[in-house]
C-alpha cells in the first residue's frame, strides 16, 4: 500500500490515510493538507477532521444526488491536488505556541504520587520534565476542546489506568506518550499530573476552543494561590 492513500468512508465522505503511526512529521502533513482544503474548499463541505495520521473529509448529499460519478471524481481530483501541493505550500508556516499554566499542588487531587512511583524520581524532577517539553497538538477529540498532545518524556510516560475514575475540569493528564487536558468533569483513565485554570472550551469565545490542532504547547507551573486567582477570572 502506498501512502498517503484515499479511502471512500461512505456515500459522502473520504479518508486520507498517511503512513500509520504517531509522529509529528506525518501529523504536520495532515494539518497542512487540512489547511489547503479549507483554503480551496468545494461546495457542500461539512467537516474536515484531522487525526494523528489521517484526515476525514465529509460533504452534504447535494453532490452525490446531482451526479454520483462525476461528483466523486471531482472530489477525488481535488483531494489528490491537495496531497500534491498542500503540504509543500503550507508546511513552512511556524505553528502557534500556546503557554498553559498548570498547578501541580496535590491538594487539587492528582496522581503525582503514582507518577513518582512509576518514574522513580521526585515531584520536582517530574514536573520539570513535564514543563521542559514543547508539545505538539496532534488533534482534538473525545470531548470539545480535549487536545491529544505529544510527546511526553518517556521517563514520565505513565500508561493509562486500568479503570477510569472521575477527573475534574482542567485536569492535565498523561497516557503513555500522550498528554491531554480534560475540558469538563469527566471519567478518565489518564494519570493526572496537575490542573489548569484555563477554559479549554467556551462556545461564546471567538476561537471556541483554547487549542487548535497543529499548535504547540508549553506548560508552566503556578502555585495554588495563583491557580485559584486565575480560576476566579471571568
Amino acid at each position: 500500500m502506498s501512502y498517503p492513500a484515499l479511502f471512500r468512508m461512505h456515500e459522502t465522505a473520504w479518508l486520507i490515510q498517511w503512513l500509520p503511526g504517531i509522529n509529528a512529521g506525518t501529523n504536520e502533513q495532515v494539518h497542512a493538507s487540512a489547511k489547503w482544503l479549507r483554503l480551496h474548499s468545494l461546495p457542500g463541505l461539512l467537516q474536515i477532521l484531522p487525526a494523528y495520521d489521517s484526515l476525514y473529509v465529509e460533504f452534504d448529499s447535494t453532490g452525490i444526488l446531482q451526479n454520483p460519478s462525476t461528483w466523486s471524481t471531482q472530489v477525488e481530483t481535488w483531494l489528490q491536488e491537495c496531497l500534491a501541493t498542500g503540504p509543500k505550500e503550507l508546511q513552512s508556516n511556524p505553528a502557534d505556541l500556546v503557554r498553559i499554566p498548570v498547578c501541580f499542588d496535590e491538594v487539587l487531587g492528582n496522581d503525582l504520587s503514582a507518577i513518582v512511583s512509576f518514574a522513580g524520581m521526585d515531584h520536582d524532577e517530574i514536573t520539570s520534565l513535564f514543563t521542559d517539553t514543547t508539545y505538539h497538538v496532534f488533534m482534538l477529540g473525545f470531548l470539545p476542546g480535549f487536545p491529544y498532545m505529544g510527546t511526553v518524556n518517556e521517563k514520565i510516560a505513565v500508561p493509562r489506568k486500568k479503570q477510569p475514575v472521575n477527573v475534574k475540569t482542567g485536569a492535565v493528564g498523561i497516557a503513555g506518550m500522550q498528554a491531554g487536558i480534560y475540558p469538563v468533569h469527566s471519567t478518565g483513565g489518564w494519570h493526572i499530573i496537575g490542573h489548569t485554570p484555563l477554559k479549554m472550551f467556551d462556545k461564546h469565545s471567538s476561537s471556541v476552543t483554547l487549542l487548535q490542532p497543529g499548535q504547540q504547547v508549553q506548560f508552566y507551573g503556578i502555585d495554588i494561590h495563583t491557580y485559584h486567582q486565575m480560576c476566579a477570572r471571568p
Partner: protein, 319 residues
C-alpha cells in the same frame, strides 16, 4: 404560538440537521437518530428539511399547543391522540388552539420526530439547534425537555385546507427485512477471514444498553489482527467498531468525533433509519454492499422526500 410541555417524556430533545463544521475541535454532530423521519416530518409541514424537530423516545411528552398549528409525527409507529381523537403518523395534521398531543401505546419503533410548521424561536449554539446533552449545547439549554418548558414559534400566515390534510403521502416503507447493508470500513481487512464470513452470516442481537450514542450487539466474539496498531481516527454515524472483547458497536447520532477501535463496517445512509427504530431484542444480519448500490438507495429516499415536500407546499398557501 407556543408549545408547552405538560408532562415530560423519557428523552425528548430538539434536533435539527446537525452541528457541522466543528468536529476538528472535538464537537459532535448530534442531530436526529432517524434522518429520514426528521426530513419527512419537515416535508409534511412545509418546513426546510433540516429544520428543528422534537425527537421523542417512548414514553413521550404530553404537549399542548396554544394556537392552531400544522404538525406531523414520523418515524416510530405509536398511538397518537390529539385531544383524545386518534390520528395517524406520517401525515400532515392540524391542531386547534389548546389542543393536547398525547402518545398512547407503542406499536413499533423507538424514536419519533414531531415537526411544527414555522420558524422555531430557539437558540443555536455553533450554528445548530441540535442538542448535545454532554456538552450542554443547542435546543432547550442543551438538555432534554422538562415539564413546564415552552417553545415559541414566529407568527405566520400559512393556511392549509383542513379537507386536504388527508394527504396520501405514505412514507416509503422502509424495507422490513432484518438485513442491514454496509460498506467495508477502513479496517475491514484487519478481520480474520473467518470473522469476515461470520460477521456477514451470524445474527446480531440488539442489547438494551443501546442509546443515542451507540447500539451494542450480542453475538459470538469476532477476531482481528493488528488491533493494537489502531491509532485514533475519525468515526461517524453508522461506523461499526470492533471492541477488544470481540463485540461490535454501531455508532449513532451522539457519537464522539474520533475512536481508537478498528472500523470494520460502515452502515449505508439508507439503512440508518432502520437502525434507529430497532427495539432491544431485535435480531439483524449485516450484508456487504457497494457504493453504487448505497448511493442509489439514498437517492431514491431523498427523491421521495422532495416529492412529498413539493406536494405539501402546493397544498399550502403562504400569506
Amino acid at each position: 404560538m407556543s408549545m408547552i410541555v405538560e408532562k415530560a417524556g423519557l428523552l425528548d430533545t430538539i434536533q435539527d440537521g446537525g452541528r457541522h463544521h466543528w468536529a476538528h475541535l472535538g464537537i459532535s454532530t448530534n442531530g436526529p437518530m432517524d434522518w429520514y423521519a426528521h426530513e419527512l416530518a419537515n416535508a409534511l409541514v412545509g418546513n426546510r428539511l433540516d429544520a428543528p424537530v422534537v425527537e421523542m423516545h417512548f414514553p413521550a411528552s404530553t404537549l399542548r399547543f396554544t394556537k392552531a398549528a400544522i404538525i406531523s409525527i414520523t418515524g416510530a409507529d405509536w398511538e397518537i391522540f390529539i385531544n383524545g381523537r386518534s390520528v395517524v403518523f406520517n401525515r400532515t395534521l392540524i391542531v386547534q388552539p389548546n389542543d393536547r398531543l398525547l402518545i398512547g401505546k407503542k406499536y413499533k419503533g423507538e424514536r419519533a420526530c414531531l415537526a411544527i410548521h414555522g420558524k422555531w424561536k430557539i437558540s443555536n449554539d455553533l450554528g445548530s439547534a441540535s442538542t448535545d446533552l454532554k456538552s450542554k449545547l443547542g435546543g432547550m439549554g442543551g438538555r432534554k425537555l422538562m415539564a413546564g418548558d415552552q417553545i415559541f414559534f414566529e407568527p405566520h400566515n400559512t393556511v392549509v385546507n383542513p379537507a386536504s390534510t388527508n394527504f396520501k403521502w405514505y412514507a416509503e416503507a422502509l424495507s422490513a427485512s432484518d438485513s442491514i447493508r454496509a460498506l467495508p470500513g477502513p479496517e475491514w481487512h484487519w478481520l480474520s477471514e473467518e470473522s469476515k464470513s461470520r460477521i456477514l452470516s451470524q445474527p446480531f442481537l440488539l442489547k438494551p444498553n443501546s442509546d443515542r450514542m451507540a447500539l451494542n450487539w450480542e453475538a459470538p466474539a469476532l477476531q482481528c489482527t493488528n488491533a493494537d496498531k489502531m491509532v485514533s481516527s475519525a468515526v461517524t454515524f453508522g461506523t461499526i467498531q470492533l471492541l477488544p472483547n470481540g463485540n461490535i458497536v454501531t455508532l449513532m447520532a451522539d457519537h464522539q468525533t474520533v475512536g481508537g477501535y478498528p472500523r470494520i463496517l460502515q452502515v449505508i445512509r439508507a439503512d440508518l433509519p432502520k437502525l434507529a427504530q430497532l427495539s432491544p431484542g431485535s435480531l439483524v444480519h449485516f450484508q456487504l454492499t457497494d457504493m453504487a448500490t448505497a448511493s442509489a438507495h439514498l437517492a431514491k429516499m431523498k427523491s421521495h422526500l422532495q416529492q412529498v415536500a413539493s406536494a405539501v407546499r402546493l397544498q399550502m398557501a403562504f400569506g
